[in-house]
Amino acid sequence: MKARTKPVLTISELLVERGGNVILDVPELILSAGEVLAVIGPNGAGKTTLLTAVLGLQKSISKGSVARGGLSFPGTPPHLYRRGFAMVFQDSLLFNGTVSENVASGLKIRGFGRSAIKKTVSEQLERFGIAALRDRRAHSLSGGEAQRVSLARALATSPEILLLDEPFASLDTPTRESILDDLEMALSGSDTAVMLVTHDRVEALRLADSVIVLAKGRILQRGETIDVLRRPANEFVASFAGTETVVAGRVVRSGGGLVVVSASGVEIEAAGDAHKGQRVAVCIRPENIVVSTGTRSRTSARNSFAGRIVRLLPMAHFHKAVIDCGFPLVAYITHHSIEEMGLREGGRVHVSFKATSVHLIKKER
């Protein structure tokens, strides 16, 4: 882990309004050199607006400013302010011309000399595995190739901050994986800070050190990626972070690092502490649930319930099971286990999960 202390981007009191509606309201956000920050949130949350505002491309900034290094916007000539950034969109938006010309465009804009451009372009083409395409027309490339060119074009200018607006969303899985590998390699050991807008939690986990969850233009939670996914601050973040099960309950006992919550007529144990009577939302991630048949499971898990499978939905790598055990509990079960245990909708099962796998969101009243 690099020491990430030098701030490269500072957002202060940023307010973007359009037609009287608040599109984005970010009181403070600091990005350090080398940090990779994922921005997740539903459609219309203001994710792209945040990126364009950071880049000084947002016309409707009502208040506040963004600063890159010592240059703040508004205040600095826009093109000079922007020259520390690079951006890659979901569409590769390549220019008419060859692959090399595209990768060179940012340097050409900055007035670099021919030999310097040639050297940097070659490095970037190698880095993204597209050296063989250098003389191809950019508009004749496949989606994956084009996105590699777009990334190479962005990194050719050695930006302080790289802005990625869902750059992998329209790629097939193998292509996305291989480009992610190349990007990770390119970023490792560099001081370039990254803001990555994504819908994909896996992508966020893989690339980002920290994450912010945006909704209706406001930051609901910021923290280390794994932390936000495991311990969402509220029910909205929980649903967005893939916590499939969220049940409302009330604390009935607490002590010794263990909280007992009564929810939907059953008692659920969670690690932590809370005062009696506290209203909470119980969050259980689907991958932390063990499903078994036959007698009650022999695990050390503190929570064990009998239930009935209500729905069984096949997904890419596992089945998603909705199990009624007093409350609807969602669990992920491998295809192999489904076959082995002969699970089917309507079948009876036992579910268990550890107290440490339960996250409690405490409510105000």
Binding site: L55, R82, F89, R110, R137
Partner: protein, 231 residues
Amino acid sequence: MDLIVNGIKEAFRLIVTLDTEVLSVTLLSLQISGSATLISLVIGVSTGTAVALSEFPGKRLVASVINTGMGLPPVVVGLFVTIFIWRNGPFGFLGILYTPAAMVLAQAIIATPIVTGISFAAIQQLPDKLRLQILSLGATRAQMVWMLMREARLPLLAAVMAGFGGVISEIGASIMVGGNIKGYTRVLTTATVMETSRGNFDVAIALGIILLMLTFAINYILTSIQQKGGR
């Protein structure tokens, strides 16, 4: 029938032997319409681009006005230019009525909305994010406009060709403000009308063929550039 066959024979003789009269008329046509197109190119491409790239209330109205201008009847343009540069008109002091300058002016007025309208559409059809992409690469506004024009170069070229095609074949305004003076303001279209009315079909056909060939050459160049760009 003989009339046509002899006419065509004579026409080819005039063209092949580079008849001075025909040649001078052709060159003057090219000069006047070329100059007018150049003026319309400067005004039209910049106006079309500016309107396409800016957001202001009434943009739709401005676009509609430009598009209407694309179909401006040359006779109406000729009429108004004549009135304006008439001896005691507002610009009468310029003394340019019945000169090539007046023809360039009138033709530029006809071609400019055509070039503007097509340029506007050319820039407008580029993806909006392309502008953001260029700016994110650190471009100044001028660099951004230049790069967008490069991206739209094929339709912009079409705009120029359409402008030139419109004025080289135009007659109403040219005859009104130019007066069809031999060796001075006589161009392909005005000469064709005059020779036809005099019954000199051979010369008229020769001029007609030259005009057709010019139009064909323009479209051929345009089409081949488009085909090359589309590959």
